[in-house]
Protein backbone atom coordinates (compact mmCIF):
# COMPACT_ATOMS: atom_id res chain seq x y z
CA UNK A 1 0.00 0.00 0.00
CA UNK A 2 2.44 2.65 -1.13
CA UNK A 3 2.65 5.17 -3.90
CA UNK A 4 -0.48 6.47 -5.55
CA UNK A 5 -2.95 3.76 -4.59
CA UNK A 6 -3.44 4.59 -0.91
CA UNK A 7 -3.87 8.40 -1.15
CA UNK A 8 -6.22 7.93 -4.08
CA UNK A 9 -8.37 5.37 -2.23
CA UNK A 10 -8.51 7.68 0.79
CA UNK A 11 -9.42 10.72 -1.32
CA UNK A 12 -12.23 8.76 -3.02
CA UNK A 13 -13.40 7.58 0.40
CA UNK A 14 -13.68 11.11 1.69
CA UNK A 15 -15.43 12.27 -1.50
CA UNK A 16 -17.91 9.42 -0.94
CA UNK A 17 -18.44 10.62 2.66
CA UNK A 18 -18.83 14.31 1.93
CA UNK A 19 -20.21 14.76 -1.60
CA UNK A 20 -23.83 13.96 -0.67
CA UNK A 21 -23.70 16.29 2.33
CA UNK A 22 -22.21 19.13 0.30
CA UNK A 23 -24.81 18.72 -2.44
CA UNK A 24 -27.53 18.72 0.22
CA UNK A 25 -26.29 22.09 1.50
CA UNK A 26 -25.81 23.60 -1.98
CA UNK A 27 -29.30 22.70 -3.17
CA UNK A 28 -30.90 24.11 -0.02
CA UNK A 29 -30.12 27.53 -1.54
CA UNK A 30 -31.72 26.58 -4.84
CA UNK A 31 -34.66 28.63 -6.03
CA UNK A 32 -36.17 25.77 -8.04
CA UNK A 33 -38.52 23.24 -6.50
CA UNK A 34 -36.72 20.53 -8.45
CA UNK A 35 -34.14 19.81 -5.81
CA UNK A 36 -31.33 18.77 -8.13
CA UNK A 37 -31.74 21.29 -10.97
CA UNK A 38 -30.14 24.67 -10.27
CA UNK A 39 -32.57 27.59 -10.61
CA UNK A 40 -30.63 30.45 -9.03
CA UNK A 41 -29.67 31.38 -5.47
CA UNK A 42 -32.44 31.84 -2.96
CA UNK A 43 -33.15 31.46 0.76
CA UNK A 44 -36.88 30.98 0.27
CA UNK A 45 -36.86 27.39 1.62
CA UNK A 46 -35.46 28.64 4.92
CA UNK A 47 -38.36 31.08 5.16
CA UNK A 48 -40.81 28.33 4.35
CA UNK A 49 -39.22 26.09 6.94
CA UNK A 50 -39.56 28.72 9.68
CA UNK A 51 -43.25 29.11 8.86
CA UNK A 52 -43.85 25.34 8.97
CA UNK A 53 -45.62 24.78 12.29
CA UNK A 54 -45.54 21.00 11.97
CA UNK A 55 -41.75 20.88 11.65
CA UNK A 56 -41.16 23.42 14.41
CA UNK A 57 -43.58 21.65 16.75
CA UNK A 58 -42.03 18.24 16.14
CA UNK A 59 -38.52 19.68 16.59
CA UNK A 60 -39.58 20.94 20.03
CA UNK A 61 -41.00 17.50 20.92
CA UNK A 62 -37.77 15.82 19.76
CA UNK A 63 -35.63 18.16 21.86
CA UNK A 64 -37.74 17.52 24.97
CA UNK A 65 -37.63 13.75 24.42
CA UNK A 66 -33.85 13.80 23.81
CA UNK A 67 -33.20 15.96 26.90
CA UNK A 68 -35.17 13.78 29.32
CA UNK A 69 -34.06 10.50 27.74
CA UNK A 70 -30.40 11.53 28.00
CA UNK A 71 -30.83 12.52 31.69
CA UNK A 72 -32.58 9.28 32.61
CA UNK A 73 -30.24 7.16 30.49
CA UNK A 74 -27.21 8.62 32.30
CA UNK A 75 -28.77 7.73 35.69
CA UNK A 76 -29.80 4.18 34.72
CA UNK A 77 -26.67 3.50 32.66
CA UNK A 78 -24.23 4.84 35.27
CA UNK A 79 -25.87 2.94 38.12
CA UNK A 80 -25.81 -0.23 36.02
CA UNK A 81 -22.14 0.24 35.15
CA UNK A 82 -21.28 1.06 38.78
CA UNK A 83 -23.05 -2.02 40.12
CA UNK A 84 -21.31 -4.26 37.57
CA UNK A 85 -17.80 -2.88 38.15
CA UNK A 86 -17.83 -2.25 41.93
CA UNK A 87 -20.30 -4.58 43.63
CA UNK A 88 -18.59 -7.88 42.93
CA UNK A 89 -20.90 -10.89 42.89
CA UNK A 90 -24.63 -10.61 43.59
CA UNK A 91 -27.73 -12.51 42.58
CA UNK A 92 -28.83 -11.45 39.14
CA UNK A 93 -25.43 -10.17 38.05
CA UNK A 94 -25.49 -12.25 34.87
CA UNK A 95 -29.01 -11.08 34.12
CA UNK A 96 -28.05 -7.42 34.51
CA UNK A 97 -24.96 -7.90 32.31
CA UNK A 98 -27.17 -9.40 29.63
CA UNK A 99 -29.86 -6.76 29.86
CA UNK A 100 -27.34 -3.94 29.64
CA UNK A 101 -25.45 -5.27 26.60
CA UNK A 102 -28.33 -6.80 24.63
CA UNK A 103 -29.94 -3.47 23.58
CA UNK A 104 -26.73 -2.69 21.66
CA UNK A 105 -27.33 -5.53 19.20
CA UNK A 106 -31.13 -5.51 19.24
CA UNK A 107 -32.69 -4.52 15.89
CA UNK A 108 -34.71 -1.33 16.35
CA UNK A 109 -37.87 -2.87 14.89
CA UNK A 110 -37.88 -5.53 17.63
CA UNK A 111 -37.23 -3.04 20.45
CA UNK A 112 -39.96 -0.77 19.11
CA UNK A 113 -42.57 -3.47 18.57
CA UNK A 114 -41.99 -5.26 21.89
CA UNK A 115 -42.12 -2.01 23.89
CA UNK A 116 -45.33 -0.97 22.17
CA UNK A 117 -46.91 -4.32 23.00
CA UNK A 118 -45.76 -3.89 26.62
CA UNK A 119 -47.31 -0.42 26.83
CA UNK A 120 -50.58 -1.66 25.35
CA UNK A 121 -50.76 -4.61 27.78
CA UNK A 122 -49.86 -2.39 30.73
CA UNK A 123 -52.57 0.07 29.78
CA UNK A 124 -55.10 -2.77 29.60
CA UNK A 125 -54.16 -4.29 32.96
CA UNK A 126 -52.81 -1.38 35.03
CA UNK A 127 -54.36 1.65 33.33
CA UNK A 128 -50.89 3.15 32.88
CA UNK A 129 -49.54 4.60 30.61
CA UNK A 130 -52.84 6.14 29.50
CA UNK A 131 -52.38 6.36 25.75
CA UNK A 132 -49.03 6.86 24.10
CA UNK A 133 -47.01 9.97 23.49
CA UNK A 134 -44.11 11.89 24.99
CA UNK A 135 -43.81 9.66 28.10
CA UNK A 136 -43.70 6.38 26.22
CA UNK A 137 -41.11 7.71 23.75
CA UNK A 138 -38.93 8.94 26.64
CA UNK A 139 -39.14 5.54 28.36
CA UNK A 140 -38.25 3.71 25.14
CA UNK A 141 -35.31 6.00 24.34
CA UNK A 142 -34.01 5.86 27.91
CA UNK A 143 -33.92 2.09 27.73
CA UNK A 144 -31.81 1.77 24.59
CA UNK A 145 -29.63 4.83 25.33
CA UNK A 146 -28.82 3.55 28.87
CA UNK A 147 -26.94 0.65 27.27
CA UNK A 148 -24.65 3.04 25.37
CA UNK A 149 -24.06 5.17 28.49
CA UNK A 150 -23.27 2.00 30.48
CA UNK A 151 -20.60 0.91 27.97
CA UNK A 152 -18.84 4.29 28.20
CA UNK A 153 -19.19 4.52 32.01
CA UNK A 154 -18.02 0.93 32.49
CA UNK A 155 -14.80 1.41 30.55
CA UNK A 156 -14.05 4.59 32.54
CA UNK A 157 -14.82 2.91 35.87
CA UNK A 158 -12.49 0.03 34.97
CA UNK A 159 -9.62 2.38 34.08
CA UNK A 160 -10.10 4.50 37.18
CA UNK A 161 -7.58 4.15 40.00
CA UNK A 162 -9.56 2.36 42.69
CA UNK A 163 -7.05 3.31 45.40
CA UNK A 164 -8.64 6.80 45.40
CA UNK A 165 -11.93 5.28 46.54
CA UNK A 166 -10.11 3.04 49.03
CA UNK A 167 -8.26 6.02 50.49
CA UNK A 168 -11.52 7.93 50.98
CA UNK A 169 -13.04 4.88 52.69
CA UNK A 170 -10.00 4.50 54.94
CA UNK A 171 -10.37 8.14 55.94
CA UNK A 172 -13.88 7.37 57.15
CA UNK A 173 -16.12 8.40 54.23
CA UNK A 174 -19.31 6.37 53.82
CA UNK A 175 -20.09 4.65 50.51
CA UNK A 176 -22.52 7.40 49.43
CA UNK A 177 -19.97 10.12 50.13
CA UNK A 178 -17.22 8.16 48.32
CA UNK A 179 -19.45 7.89 45.27
CA UNK A 180 -20.42 11.56 45.13
CA UNK A 181 -17.07 13.06 46.22
CA UNK A 182 -14.62 10.74 44.47
CA UNK A 183 -16.12 8.40 41.87
CA UNK A 184 -18.57 10.79 40.24
CA UNK A 185 -16.11 13.67 39.66
CA UNK A 186 -13.52 11.27 38.22
CA UNK A 187 -15.91 9.65 35.73
CA UNK A 188 -17.75 12.94 34.95
CA UNK A 189 -16.14 13.43 31.49
CA UNK A 190 -17.29 9.94 30.47
CA UNK A 191 -20.80 10.75 31.67
CA UNK A 192 -20.83 13.98 29.64
CA UNK A 193 -19.78 11.97 26.58
CA UNK A 194 -22.49 9.40 27.38
CA UNK A 195 -25.12 12.12 27.78
CA UNK A 196 -24.21 13.66 24.42
CA UNK A 197 -24.31 10.27 22.70
CA UNK A 198 -27.70 9.47 24.29
CA UNK A 199 -29.04 12.90 23.26
CA UNK A 200 -27.89 12.38 19.66
CA UNK A 201 -29.22 8.82 19.45
CA UNK A 202 -32.59 9.91 20.78
CA UNK A 203 -32.79 12.88 18.41
CA UNK A 204 -31.93 10.57 15.52
CA UNK A 205 -34.30 7.70 16.20
CA UNK A 206 -37.16 7.11 13.79
CA UNK A 207 -38.06 3.43 14.11
CA UNK A 208 -38.56 3.05 17.87
CA UNK A 209 -40.39 6.38 18.17
CA UNK A 210 -42.74 5.42 15.32
CA UNK A 211 -43.81 2.29 17.19
CA UNK A 212 -44.29 3.76 20.67
CA UNK A 213 -45.62 7.25 19.93
CA UNK A 214 -49.27 8.13 19.71
CA UNK A 215 -51.33 10.73 17.90
CA UNK A 216 -50.15 14.27 18.55
CA UNK A 217 -46.60 13.28 19.48
CA UNK A 218 -44.65 13.11 16.23
CA UNK A 219 -40.92 13.56 16.59
CA UNK A 220 -38.85 15.45 14.02
CA UNK A 221 -37.53 12.27 12.31
CA UNK A 222 -41.12 11.01 12.00
CA UNK A 223 -42.22 14.22 10.25
CA UNK A 224 -39.13 14.26 8.01
CA UNK A 225 -39.67 10.60 7.10
CA UNK A 226 -43.28 11.14 6.07
CA UNK A 227 -42.19 14.11 3.89
CA UNK A 228 -39.18 12.36 2.36
CA UNK A 229 -41.09 9.19 1.58
CA UNK A 230 -43.04 11.10 -1.03
CA UNK A 231 -39.84 12.30 -2.69
CA UNK A 232 -37.18 14.98 -2.22
CA UNK A 233 -38.35 18.34 -0.96
CA UNK A 234 -36.23 21.50 -0.74
CA UNK A 235 -37.30 22.55 2.77
CA UNK A 236 -35.83 19.26 4.07
CA UNK A 237 -32.55 20.37 2.47
CA UNK A 238 -32.80 23.66 4.37
CA UNK A 239 -33.45 21.78 7.62
CA UNK A 240 -30.48 19.48 6.96
CA UNK A 241 -28.24 22.50 6.35
CA UNK A 242 -29.29 24.06 9.66
CA UNK A 243 -28.58 20.79 11.53
CA UNK A 244 -25.17 20.44 9.82
CA UNK A 245 -24.43 24.05 10.80
CA UNK A 246 -25.26 23.32 14.44
CA UNK A 247 -23.06 20.23 14.48
CA UNK A 248 -20.13 22.08 12.89
CA UNK A 249 -20.36 24.92 15.43
CA UNK A 250 -20.62 22.41 18.32
CA UNK A 251 -17.59 20.46 17.06
CA UNK A 252 -15.52 23.63 16.63
CA UNK A 253 -16.42 24.83 20.16
CA UNK A 254 -15.68 21.38 21.63
CA UNK A 255 -12.34 21.22 19.79
CA UNK A 256 -11.41 24.70 20.99
CA UNK A 257 -12.32 23.83 24.59
CA UNK A 258 -10.36 20.57 24.49
CA UNK A 259 -7.32 22.34 23.09
CA UNK A 260 -7.55 24.97 25.83
CA UNK A 261 -7.87 22.27 28.51
CA UNK A 262 -4.88 20.42 27.04
CA UNK A 263 -2.81 23.63 27.05
CA UNK A 264 -3.77 24.32 30.66
CA UNK A 265 -2.75 20.88 31.85
CA UNK A 266 0.51 20.98 29.86
Amino acid sequence: MRGWFLPMAVALGFIFLYAPIISLVVFSFNDSRLVTVWGGFSTRWYGELLRDRQILGSAWISLQVAFWSANLAVIVGTLGAFVLTRFGGFTGRLLLTGMITAPLVMPEVITGLSLLLLFVSMELTLGWPAGRGLTTIIIAHTTFCAAFVAVIAQSRLRQMDESLEEAARDLGAGPVRVFFDITLPVIAPALVAGWLLAFTLSLDDLVIASFVSGPGASTLPMVIFSKVRLGVSPDVNALATIIIGFVLVAVIIAGWMMRRAARKSA
Binding site: M1, A9, G92, V236
Partner: protein, 292 residues
Amino acid sequence: MTWRRALVIAIPMLWLGIFFLAPFFVLGRISLAEAIIARPPYTPLFGRAPDGSLEIFASLENFRFLLEDALYRNAYLSSIRVALISTIFALLIGYPIAYYIARAPEPKRSILLLMVILPFWTSFLLRVYAWMGFLRTNGVINNTLMSLGIIDAPLRLMHTDLAVYIGIVYTYLPFMILPLYANLTKLDAALLEAASDLGASPVVTFLTVTLPLSLPGIVAGSMLVFIPAIGEYVIPALLGGPDTLMIGRVLWDEFFSSRDWPVASAVAIVMLFLVVAPIMWLQSVQNRREEH
Protein backbone atom coordinates in the same frame (compact mmCIF):
# COMPACT_ATOMS: atom_id res chain seq x y z
CA MET B 1 -26.26 -6.75 51.78
CA THR B 2 -27.36 -3.38 53.12
CA TRP B 3 -30.58 -1.75 51.98
CA ARG B 4 -28.62 0.98 50.20
CA ARG B 5 -26.69 -1.55 48.16
CA ALA B 6 -29.92 -3.34 47.31
CA LEU B 7 -31.48 -0.04 46.21
CA VAL B 8 -28.57 0.81 43.92
CA ILE B 9 -28.83 -2.64 42.30
CA ALA B 10 -32.62 -2.40 42.10
CA ILE B 11 -32.83 0.80 40.03
CA PRO B 12 -31.10 -0.39 36.81
CA MET B 13 -32.36 -3.94 37.39
CA LEU B 14 -36.01 -2.89 37.63
CA TRP B 15 -35.86 -0.39 34.78
CA LEU B 16 -34.30 -2.86 32.35
CA GLY B 17 -36.35 -5.75 33.70
CA ILE B 18 -39.62 -3.92 33.06
CA PHE B 19 -38.77 -2.02 29.88
CA PHE B 20 -36.30 -4.37 28.21
CA LEU B 21 -36.88 -7.94 29.38
CA ALA B 22 -40.63 -8.00 30.08
CA PRO B 23 -41.54 -6.77 26.55
CA PHE B 24 -40.12 -10.00 25.11
CA PHE B 25 -42.54 -12.07 27.16
CA VAL B 26 -45.41 -9.92 25.91
CA LEU B 27 -44.03 -10.34 22.39
CA GLY B 28 -43.93 -14.13 22.81
CA ARG B 29 -47.43 -14.22 24.20
CA ILE B 30 -48.93 -12.13 21.38
CA SER B 31 -47.10 -14.19 18.74
CA LEU B 32 -49.31 -17.08 19.90
CA ALA B 33 -52.52 -15.08 19.50
CA GLU B 34 -54.69 -14.51 16.48
CA ALA B 35 -55.36 -11.17 14.79
CA ILE B 36 -58.89 -9.84 15.25
CA ILE B 37 -60.53 -6.52 14.49
CA ALA B 38 -60.81 -5.05 17.97
CA ARG B 39 -58.86 -3.03 20.48
CA PRO B 40 -56.31 -4.44 21.08
CA PRO B 41 -56.18 -6.23 17.70
CA TYR B 42 -55.36 -9.73 18.99
CA THR B 43 -57.18 -12.50 20.82
CA PRO B 44 -56.79 -12.64 24.61
CA LEU B 45 -54.72 -15.45 26.11
CA PHE B 46 -57.41 -16.46 28.59
CA GLY B 47 -61.07 -16.68 27.87
CA ARG B 48 -64.27 -18.23 29.19
CA ALA B 49 -65.63 -21.24 27.38
CA PRO B 50 -69.43 -21.40 26.97
CA ASP B 51 -69.69 -23.69 30.02
CA GLY B 52 -67.85 -21.16 32.15
CA SER B 53 -64.49 -22.93 32.43
CA LEU B 54 -61.22 -21.14 31.80
CA GLU B 55 -59.76 -21.55 28.33
CA ILE B 56 -56.32 -20.75 27.04
CA PHE B 57 -55.98 -19.60 23.44
CA ALA B 58 -52.51 -20.20 22.13
CA SER B 59 -51.52 -21.55 18.76
CA LEU B 60 -48.39 -21.88 16.72
CA GLU B 61 -50.43 -20.99 13.64
CA ASN B 62 -48.44 -17.77 13.02
CA PHE B 63 -45.14 -19.63 13.03
CA ARG B 64 -46.47 -22.25 10.64
CA PHE B 65 -47.60 -19.40 8.40
CA LEU B 66 -44.07 -17.89 8.45
CA LEU B 67 -42.60 -21.26 7.59
CA GLU B 68 -44.97 -21.93 4.72
CA ASP B 69 -44.97 -18.50 3.09
CA ALA B 70 -41.83 -18.12 0.96
CA LEU B 71 -41.94 -14.34 1.45
CA TYR B 72 -40.61 -14.56 4.99
CA ARG B 73 -37.92 -17.11 4.24
CA ASN B 74 -36.74 -14.99 1.32
CA ALA B 75 -36.76 -11.88 3.46
CA TYR B 76 -34.54 -13.51 6.09
CA LEU B 77 -32.10 -14.80 3.51
CA SER B 78 -32.03 -11.56 1.58
CA SER B 79 -31.40 -9.55 4.79
CA ILE B 80 -28.37 -11.69 5.50
CA ARG B 81 -27.16 -11.31 1.91
CA VAL B 82 -27.60 -7.51 1.85
CA ALA B 83 -25.91 -7.11 5.25
CA LEU B 84 -23.02 -9.35 4.20
CA ILE B 85 -22.39 -7.62 0.86
CA SER B 86 -22.60 -4.17 2.49
CA THR B 87 -20.15 -5.24 5.19
CA ILE B 88 -17.65 -6.41 2.58
CA PHE B 89 -17.93 -3.13 0.67
CA ALA B 90 -17.56 -1.15 3.91
CA LEU B 91 -14.42 -3.13 4.70
CA LEU B 92 -12.93 -2.54 1.24
CA ILE B 93 -13.59 1.21 1.45
CA GLY B 94 -12.86 1.58 5.16
CA TYR B 95 -9.60 -0.38 5.39
CA PRO B 96 -7.44 1.96 3.25
CA ILE B 97 -8.83 4.99 5.09
CA ALA B 98 -8.15 3.47 8.52
CA TYR B 99 -4.66 2.40 7.41
CA TYR B 100 -3.85 5.84 6.03
CA ILE B 101 -5.08 7.65 9.16
CA ALA B 102 -3.16 5.28 11.44
CA ARG B 103 0.06 6.05 9.53
CA ALA B 104 -0.53 9.82 9.28
CA PRO B 105 1.46 12.22 11.50
CA GLU B 106 -0.26 14.50 14.02
CA PRO B 107 -2.16 16.85 13.65
CA LYS B 108 -3.24 15.47 10.27
CA ARG B 109 -4.29 12.24 11.99
CA SER B 110 -6.69 13.98 14.44
CA ILE B 111 -8.22 16.08 11.68
CA LEU B 112 -8.83 13.09 9.41
CA LEU B 113 -10.25 11.10 12.31
CA LEU B 114 -12.61 13.97 13.13
CA MET B 115 -13.67 14.11 9.49
CA VAL B 116 -14.61 10.42 9.62
CA ILE B 117 -16.71 10.88 12.78
CA LEU B 118 -18.31 14.20 11.82
CA PRO B 119 -21.04 12.86 9.50
CA PHE B 120 -22.10 10.47 12.26
CA TRP B 121 -23.18 13.41 14.42
CA THR B 122 -25.56 14.73 11.77
CA SER B 123 -28.95 13.11 11.33
CA PHE B 124 -28.94 9.54 10.03
CA LEU B 125 -32.24 10.07 8.22
CA LEU B 126 -30.94 13.17 6.44
CA ARG B 127 -27.79 11.36 5.33
CA VAL B 128 -29.96 8.70 3.69
CA TYR B 129 -32.09 11.49 2.22
CA ALA B 130 -28.95 13.05 0.72
CA TRP B 131 -28.50 9.91 -1.36
CA MET B 132 -32.03 10.20 -2.68
CA GLY B 133 -31.06 13.51 -4.27
CA PHE B 134 -27.91 11.88 -5.64
CA LEU B 135 -29.37 8.72 -7.13
CA ARG B 136 -32.69 9.97 -8.55
CA THR B 137 -33.48 9.75 -12.26
CA ASN B 138 -32.76 13.47 -12.58
CA GLY B 139 -30.43 13.45 -9.60
CA VAL B 140 -26.87 14.71 -9.28
CA ILE B 141 -25.15 11.57 -10.62
CA ASN B 142 -27.37 11.16 -13.68
CA ASN B 143 -27.30 14.90 -14.49
CA THR B 144 -23.50 14.99 -14.25
CA LEU B 145 -22.98 11.89 -16.37
CA MET B 146 -25.45 13.11 -19.00
CA SER B 147 -24.00 16.61 -19.25
CA LEU B 148 -20.55 15.04 -19.67
CA GLY B 149 -22.00 12.94 -22.48
CA ILE B 150 -21.01 9.65 -20.84
CA ILE B 151 -24.57 8.33 -20.92
CA ASP B 152 -27.55 9.24 -23.12
CA ALA B 153 -30.41 8.13 -20.92
CA PRO B 154 -30.49 8.33 -17.12
CA LEU B 155 -29.42 5.18 -15.28
CA ARG B 156 -31.84 3.55 -12.89
CA LEU B 157 -30.01 3.94 -9.60
CA MET B 158 -32.76 4.67 -7.07
CA HIS B 159 -35.00 1.87 -5.82
CA THR B 160 -32.40 -0.81 -6.52
CA ASP B 161 -30.39 -3.17 -4.34
CA LEU B 162 -27.30 -1.16 -5.28
CA ALA B 163 -28.85 1.94 -3.68
CA VAL B 164 -29.44 -0.05 -0.49
CA TYR B 165 -25.80 -1.21 -0.41
CA ILE B 166 -24.63 2.38 -0.91
CA GLY B 167 -26.94 3.62 1.84
CA ILE B 168 -25.77 1.02 4.36
CA VAL B 169 -22.07 1.45 3.56
CA TYR B 170 -22.41 5.23 3.74
CA THR B 171 -24.26 5.19 7.06
CA TYR B 172 -22.09 2.68 8.88
CA LEU B 173 -18.64 3.40 7.38
CA PRO B 174 -17.43 5.24 10.55
CA PHE B 175 -18.23 2.11 12.58
CA MET B 176 -15.93 0.12 10.29
CA ILE B 177 -13.12 2.68 10.25
CA LEU B 178 -12.84 3.41 14.00
CA PRO B 179 -12.11 -0.13 15.31
CA LEU B 180 -9.79 -0.74 12.34
CA TYR B 181 -7.95 2.48 13.10
CA ALA B 182 -7.69 1.62 16.81
CA ASN B 183 -6.19 -1.74 15.84
CA LEU B 184 -3.81 -0.45 13.16
CA THR B 185 -2.30 2.28 15.38
CA LYS B 186 -1.14 -0.47 17.75
CA LEU B 187 0.70 -2.24 14.93
CA ASP B 188 4.44 -2.32 15.67
CA ALA B 189 6.28 -0.54 12.84
CA ALA B 190 9.38 -2.62 13.60
CA LEU B 191 7.58 -5.69 12.25
CA LEU B 192 7.01 -3.98 8.91
CA GLU B 193 10.65 -2.88 8.78
CA ALA B 194 11.81 -6.38 9.60
CA ALA B 195 9.68 -7.80 6.81
CA SER B 196 11.03 -5.36 4.23
CA ASP B 197 14.62 -5.86 5.48
CA LEU B 198 14.16 -9.55 4.84
CA GLY B 199 13.23 -8.74 1.28
CA ALA B 200 9.42 -8.79 1.34
CA SER B 201 7.74 -6.46 -1.13
CA PRO B 202 5.17 -3.97 0.24
CA VAL B 203 2.35 -6.17 -1.03
CA VAL B 204 3.80 -9.29 0.59
CA THR B 205 4.44 -7.38 3.84
CA PHE B 206 0.85 -6.21 3.85
CA LEU B 207 -0.57 -9.65 3.17
CA THR B 208 1.66 -11.56 5.60
CA VAL B 209 2.12 -9.04 8.45
CA THR B 210 -0.39 -6.18 8.51
CA LEU B 211 -3.49 -8.01 7.39
CA PRO B 212 -3.27 -10.99 9.80
CA LEU B 213 -2.42 -8.70 12.74
CA SER B 214 -5.39 -6.44 12.00
CA LEU B 215 -7.84 -9.35 11.98
CA PRO B 216 -9.39 -8.43 15.38
CA GLY B 217 -10.06 -4.92 14.04
CA ILE B 218 -11.61 -6.36 10.88
CA VAL B 219 -13.88 -8.63 12.94
CA ALA B 220 -14.93 -5.82 15.32
CA GLY B 221 -15.63 -3.35 12.50
CA SER B 222 -17.51 -5.92 10.42
CA MET B 223 -19.74 -6.81 13.38
CA LEU B 224 -20.56 -3.13 13.95
CA VAL B 225 -21.70 -2.80 10.32
CA PHE B 226 -23.37 -6.20 9.95
CA ILE B 227 -25.48 -6.03 13.13
CA PRO B 228 -27.41 -2.81 12.45
CA ALA B 229 -27.58 -3.58 8.70
CA ILE B 230 -29.42 -6.86 9.09
CA GLY B 231 -32.44 -5.37 10.88
CA GLU B 232 -32.40 -2.13 8.91
CA TYR B 233 -35.71 -0.53 8.01
CA VAL B 234 -35.13 3.09 6.92
CA ILE B 235 -32.52 2.48 4.21
CA PRO B 236 -34.44 -0.22 2.26
CA ALA B 237 -37.66 1.78 2.72
CA LEU B 238 -36.22 4.97 1.22
CA LEU B 239 -33.59 3.75 -1.25
CA GLY B 240 -34.69 0.19 -2.03
CA GLY B 241 -37.22 -0.91 -4.60
CA PRO B 242 -40.47 -2.71 -3.89
CA ASP B 243 -38.63 -6.01 -4.44
CA THR B 244 -35.86 -5.22 -1.93
CA LEU B 245 -36.97 -7.60 0.78
CA MET B 246 -35.50 -7.10 4.21
CA ILE B 247 -36.82 -8.60 7.38
CA GLY B 248 -37.00 -5.28 9.27
CA ARG B 249 -39.13 -3.86 6.49
CA VAL B 250 -41.39 -6.93 6.41
CA LEU B 251 -41.97 -6.62 10.16
CA TRP B 252 -42.72 -2.89 9.83
CA ASP B 253 -45.22 -3.45 7.00
CA GLU B 254 -46.85 -6.36 8.81
CA PHE B 255 -47.41 -4.05 11.77
CA PHE B 256 -48.19 -0.67 10.18
CA SER B 257 -49.81 -1.68 6.86
CA SER B 258 -51.43 -5.07 7.51
CA ARG B 259 -52.03 -4.22 11.19
CA ASP B 260 -51.40 -7.87 12.00
CA TRP B 261 -49.79 -7.63 15.43
CA PRO B 262 -49.54 -11.39 16.07
CA VAL B 263 -47.72 -12.12 12.79
CA ALA B 264 -45.42 -9.11 13.34
CA SER B 265 -44.64 -10.53 16.80
CA ALA B 266 -43.93 -13.96 15.35
CA VAL B 267 -41.53 -12.38 12.80
CA ALA B 268 -39.79 -10.62 15.70
CA ILE B 269 -39.50 -13.83 17.74
CA VAL B 270 -37.98 -15.73 14.81
CA MET B 271 -35.60 -12.81 14.25
CA LEU B 272 -34.55 -12.98 17.92
CA PHE B 273 -33.59 -16.63 17.57
CA LEU B 274 -32.10 -16.56 14.08
CA VAL B 275 -30.34 -13.18 14.16
CA VAL B 276 -29.90 -11.75 17.65
CA ALA B 277 -29.05 -14.94 19.55
CA PRO B 278 -26.19 -16.00 17.19
CA ILE B 279 -24.78 -12.46 17.26
CA MET B 280 -24.82 -12.33 21.07
CA TRP B 281 -23.23 -15.77 21.25
CA LEU B 282 -20.52 -14.71 18.80
CA GLN B 283 -19.83 -11.58 20.81
CA SER B 284 -19.52 -13.42 24.10
CA VAL B 285 -17.09 -15.88 22.48
CA GLN B 286 -15.07 -12.95 21.16
CA ASN B 287 -15.06 -11.18 24.54
CA ARG B 288 -13.88 -14.32 26.29
CA ARG B 289 -11.09 -14.72 23.77
CA GLU B 290 -9.98 -11.12 24.34
CA GLU B 291 -9.88 -11.63 28.10
CA HIS B 292 -7.47 -14.57 27.76
